[in-house]
């Protein structure tokens, strides 16, 4: 069982690059799908595109964590969560890249949706200055 992850960004490149990073850190052991840009592939968000990624990320049926970058990504993610059956989708309150990496590690080691969601949120406490 693996929880899926969908990266909801305004920018296709940002979503794809983050997915690539997560895959490299988990040796491909997680289903992480980018959903970036509007329906024209320009900057923006597209709920149908996100929904499509969600369906593919949920192939195992173990649920999907949506990780949004900012603004309309957050709103679109919330909207889908309201629309779909409870338990299938969860929203990550997390920094985009750091949360995606943490969620990817948790998912690739078999965490369930609540565990993966909590791992993403934990990433708010990462720090990058010398310690």
């Amino acid at each position: 069982m693996t929880v899926g992850i969908v990266l909801v960004s305004h920018s296709p490149a940002l979503a794809e690059g983050t997915a690539e990073l997560v895959l490299s850190l988990t040796a491909g052991g997680v289903r992480v799908l980018p959903a970036g840009g509007n329906s024209d592939g320009a900057l923006g968000t597209s709920p149908p595109l996100i929904l499509d990624a969600v369906m593919r990320a949920n192939e195992d049926g173990h649920g999907v964590l949506l990780i949004p970058d900012l603004g309309s990504s957050v709103l679109s993610a919330r909207l889908l969560i309201d629309d779909l059956a409870e338990g299938v989708l969860a929203l990550a309150d997390a920094p985009f890249v750091e949360g995606a990496v943490a969620a990817g590690m948790a998912a690739s080691t078999g965490g369930d949706l609540a565990v993966v969601q909590a791992a993403a949120k934990e990433a708010w406490s990462f720090r990058k200055d010398p310690d």
């Binding site: 509007n38 329906s39 024209d40 320009a42 900057l43 923006g44 968000t45 597209s46 709920p47 149908p48 900012l70 603004g71 309309s72 709103l75 679109s76 919330r78 909207l79 309201d82």
Partner: protein, 195 residues
């Protein structure tokens, strides 16, 4: 009284106003956002015009909400989409509703926007135009004027939601683009109800 035809007339009038003012909406969004609000809503309301059909006000508004969510491509898409979908849900499948029932549906739409976006009045968003307009409509007052006043009042506010909130106090002095488009929606609504 609202039926399917008049509901559709509202949306068509709104699409026309959005189209005519899209440059202005984009200019407002360039000042305190990313400069796409006019383009977003033009795309969104084009889809509404094409897809928002049905036999009841509820069916028309539901289709409009879905079209906006699918096509808009910015924060205003999920927000206006939710506005129409929640209103549609409140209307159920009544083929015709009186103004009091329609007012309740608009209030449900507003509540949906606030739940989804977390914005209160005073946060310098579309809510600042929608909220007074919904109240005025329920009281039989001039909803279009109330929305326009609400829009103008956003000029002196500090943005606390949406992209403009990154600017903090530097957002003061600019009208919120979403409040401006909300005023157009109510201008359109009044154009089809006051006759």
């Amino acid at each position: 009284m609202m039926d399917a035809a008049r509901t559709r007339a509202w949306l068509t009038a709104a699409a026309r106003l959005i189209n005519a003012n899209s440059g202005h909406l984009t200019a407002l969004d360039t000042a305190i956002g990313d400069g796409d609000h006019g383009l977003n809503l033009r795309r969104g309301f084009e889809a509404v015009t094409a897809e928002a059909t049905g036999d009841t006000p509820g069916a028309v508004l539901k289709a409009a909400g879905n079209a906006l969510i699918d096509a808009t491509g910015g924060a205003s898409g999920p927000l206006y989409g939710t506005f129409f979908r929640r209103a549609a849900k409140a209307l159920g499948d009544a083929p015709e509703v009186d103004d009091a029932v329609f007012a309740q549906a608009l209030a449900a739409g507003l509540a949906g926007v606030q739940t989804l976006g977390g914005a209160a009045e005073g946060d310098k968003t579309m809510v600042d135009a929608l909220a007074p307009a919904v109240t005025a409509f329920a009281a039989g007052g001039d909803a279009a004027a109330a929305a326009a006043n609400g829009r103008d009042a956003t000029e002196s506010m500090t943005a606390r939601k949406g992209r403009a909130s990154y600017l903090g106090e530097r957002s003061i002095g600019h009208i919120d683009p979403g409040a401006a488009s909300a005023a157009l929606l109510f201008q359109a609504l009044c154009s089809v109800t006051t006759d």
